[in-house]
Symmetry: C2
């Protein structure tokens, strides 16, 4: 665990305090799904600070991550911590009030991104999880210039955590913290399938 001693002091004209509280863009990438798990683990800290947490889940399956979703929703509804809002593309975005269709994933994903941009401008949340967001860029559904501009120009103190494999190089470039989770050993290598309570 880093012990809080920076390895370099930048010549950016900021005080330590200003620099310390700079909002972060975090990218969790790598081959394993530990990246989402870690992002939701970070969300626990944000919740504990009383910050409004917004999750945008760019995946279809209702089965994966249902544990994290239930937990964050129970926390958000509790008397402690901050509120939690969970947006899920697979069920149709909550703000559009229409059923999710399988017809046009790209259009659905772009709708999600447009809402994120509106929320960033409005400073709706203090902590964002954009889960599996990297694929939208990988598949060419979003314009990287648009994404970089919206993230780098976001106002106030909004932390953004992005997960997914194969993060776009420019996303890595503008990120403050990039973590990569790799497997050293996995039960599927030994013929074991995913199981309830562990994989979802």
């Amino acid at each position: 665990m880093p012990q809080g001693v920076p390895t370099a002091v930048p010549d950016d004209g900021l005080t330590t305090r200003q620099r310390r509280n700079r909002p972060l863009l975090v990218v969790h990438t790598g081959e394993m799904k530990g990246k989402s798990t870690a992002a939701f683990g970070m969300a626990l800290r944000a919740w504990n600070q009383g910050w409004p947490v917004g999750v945008f889940q760019f995946v279809k399956s209702a089965k994966w991550k249902v544990g994290e979703e239930t937990a964050l929703k129970v926390l958000g509804a509790s008397d402690e911590g901050g509120p939690v809002t969970w947006h899920k593309m697979g069920e149709g975005w909550s703000w559009t009030r229409k059923q999710g269709t399988d017809e046009d994933h790209a259009a659905n994903a772009r709708e999600g991104w447009e809402q994120i941009k509106r929320d960033l401008v409005a400073e709706t949340y203090r902590f964002y999880v954009l889960d599996e967001f990297t694929y939208l860029l990988k598949w060419g559904w979003l314009d990287i210039d648009d994404v970089v501009a919206a993230l780098t120009n976001r106002p106030g103190q909004q932390h953004v955590v992005i997960t997914g494999r194969d993060a776009h190089p420019r996303l890595v470039e503008i990120a403050d913290l990039v973590l990569e989770t790799t497997k050293v050993k996995h039960p599927m290598d030994a013929g074991q399938k995913g199981q309830r309570g562990i994989e979802w």
Copy 2:
């Protein structure tokens, strides 16, 4: 994310169902503290299954991980999910009812391990987080043979997640899943110190 297709089917005489539900020993290691965050993220899934969750935190500081602790405790006390028991060495183990002393870390840590062994035999929890446990082996406070025997012979369906740097090779050997989180880029490299809501 692995799509549930094993790369090999072992000749172990087990059915797929038996193999699927085999209790796991997971080791989260690597240079970054994402390893604990991911372990607590996994605990959300276990909680959502209604499983009793037991956390043994082998760290002194009260500041780090207070977000995860508060969140898991709120979840454990809610009407949904399973119960959560959080044991913390820094405050003195709850079952000994004495104040934590700084005098003998090794003795305190060994007391924690003895309780874990009792709980494994009694099948007290279904999901264990042994946070920063690797150091107890690294520093020679525990006997690796004793640890390997207790973990490999644990009865029933008890999942165990161990975190910490420099996991002992024999721990890696007996683990089913080993994940390593590495930093690609970290704000401390740019002179930024840890901040509230992000680092703790």
